[in-house]
Amino acid sequence: MKMYRSHILVAEDSKSLSKGAKEIEELISKELRALGLDEEVLVAPTGSLGFEDIGVAIAVYPDGVIYAPVTQNDVPRIIKEHLLKGRIVKELAHEIGKKDVTVTESRAERVLSIQERVLLKRVGVINPESIEEYIAEDGYLALEKAIEKGPQWVLEEVKASELRGRGGAGFPTGKKWEFTAKAKSDVKYVICNADEGEPGTFKDRVIMEGDPHLLIEGMILAGFATGANYGYIYIRGEYDLSIRRLQKAIDQARSYGFLGENILGSGFSFDIEIKKGAGAYICGEETALIESIEGKRGEPRKKPPYPPTCGLWGKPTVINNVETLANVPPIVVNGAEWFKKFGVPGSYGTKLFSLMGDVNYKGVIEIPFGVKLSSIINDVGFGIKGGKKLKGVILGGVSGSLITPNEIDTPVDFNSLALIEAGPGSGSIVVLSEDRCIVDIAKNIAYFFRHESCGKCTPCRVGTEEMYKIIDSISKGFGEVKDLERLDKLSTSMKLTSFCGLGQTAPNIIQQSLRKFREEWLEHINERKCSANVCEFEEIMEEVTNE
């Protein structure tokens, strides 16, 4: 094995690739060859380093320096100065860990130090296309331990950890697994829900692109604990890079004997197949997902029966989110008690949050449960962009909740959020500044649900269309006060009688905004005024208010 003195890792997640990360990687290799350093310095791709919102990022190890954003012009200088001469290029660097080098904005340190990188441990550290690097970083240790201890032990450990689903519903994972483990059937399945369609959510792709073997190991453990021999990863069709990296990882795992017959001599067999989605948010709903794998329209099934006892092809099926499954290997390796060191009672462990909107730092972060939302925004997000005032936060995706400034100190965990009728949901945090218009946001959300409704049930099929029509009319200046009553009535009805979670949660934010931001709605209706200057009213009398 070659002994390199330095590693340069280039972040090559989808976003970074879209910014030219591959070209940077190639240029670095060229520069190293030109200086005769290619035998001493290894260049490799890695997952997200957390800086894709500003540009391409590279990390130089063992020094622990991140350069971001890196342009093609910066490369020769970095290679010559840092790799050849050993001098860090301070102006371009963000440093992690080293205290004696001053940096203008030690963003990396703050961003990365507040975080607990359990799930993201290897993201940005290893080459996601190398199973060897995964193994070198404690990869497949959990699987070995599980085989040694047996399926019952694994199930009990996951139960004891009180791990809750990370897709949005927060159902206790161990409990779900137990239903399937106890079900008697010739065939059982494990499905990974990698549909990640909730607007404002992009955390699962970070794992799939940056540490795909973590997900695979998690799935094998799920199968082992529940008695399932087949796994499917249902991944949305638009996630091409994730699909490619996962498929490569599956092939590698097979060749190493982690997948297939008689895994590591245990007698347990498990294999995984990827199923591509084709552009339907509703397929994130577990029964619609099952229908899609079966090759049908993604229309939800009635529950009961529930998938753990009657799911794919009518067989007991465990369906877990990517992040949920990613938690399993660390729990198995380190134990349930270790896991409970993170988070708070009722919400143990860490959570991936997708932070965006009017914050200074946008990206995926990993934080233990129980941190105040205000702290996340200020300490990790570096506060509101442009120093503006906070208007609100959309937490948990567009099917989540609307948090107002006076609720912003709520700790982010299931129980605390439940007290304000909210939940962590998918972990999406969209920060809204005072420059935003609630009516415009409500319209965008209504448009989304109308586009994604599967059409099976009347309350959602017609309800989402009517909701959009009413809000659109208000945004154009044609609203009447009774429209707010109509919206409210429609919302309640959809929440109570829609066939599935999509229709039941579609009105959440809109209905909450009617209450929490009523003055803004009324302003649009009674005064034909949009304080944020976003809405374009039609048939305007004066020429002044126009954007």
Binding site: S14, K15, L17, S18, K19, E52, D53, G197, E198, P199, G200, T201, F202, R205, Y230, R236, G237, E238, Y239, D240, L241, D271, E273, K275, K276, G277, A278, G279, A280, Y281, S292, I293, E294, G295, K296, R297, G298, W313, S354, L355, M356, G357, D358, K362, G363, V364, I394, V398, S428, V430, L432, R436, I441, N444, I445, Y447, F448, H451, E452, C454
Partner: protein, 142 residues
């Protein structure tokens, strides 16, 4: 494992078709293979936004219209795309190069506004980026 599903096969048909769609006569063949009816296959193809029953351009542009991209002035990008291409959503350019489609959240929210052209993601878009990107795609550089 049960092997390829109808949706897997539809993906394959579309991906190997330069016009990026599922032709009617193939829909019938697929129905026969899966022992189902063309009516059912049509119901599946038209349910999912990634499938098309009508011919499309060589390149499919999916521009995101969901919350994060909207907040990042995504509508300006949408407008610019429609202008540059001279088409509306669901339409294909005269030279059959591009089909413009509106998409829900593409999972690139921290680099909003964003779009995808075929399987390539583009983020942090500014209006002036659009003609440059379109040119590069036409030239086959990307």
């Amino acid at each position: 494992m049960k092997g390829k599903s109808l949706i897997d096969v539809l993906h394959e048909i579309q991906e190997s078709n330069p016009e990026n769609y599922v032709p009617e006569n193939l829909a019938k063949k697929v129905a026969d293979t899966f022992k189902t009816s063309p009516a059912k296959v049509y119901g599946v193809v038209t349910f999912y936004t990634m499938f098309s029953i009508k011919p499309r351009g060589k390149h499919i542009i999916r521009v995101c219209r969901s919350l994060s991209c909207h907040l990042a002035d995504g509508e300006k990008i949408v407008k610019k795309l429609k202008e540059e291409l001279g088409v509306d959503f669901g339409e294909t350019t005269e030279d059959k190069e591009f089909t413009l489609e509106e998409s829900s959240c593409l999972g690139m929210c921290s680099i909003a506004p964003s779009m995808m052209i075929d399987d390539v993601p583009f983020g942090n878009l500014k209006e002036e980026d659009i003609p440059v990107i379109l040119k590069k795609v036409r030239e086959g550089v990307l």
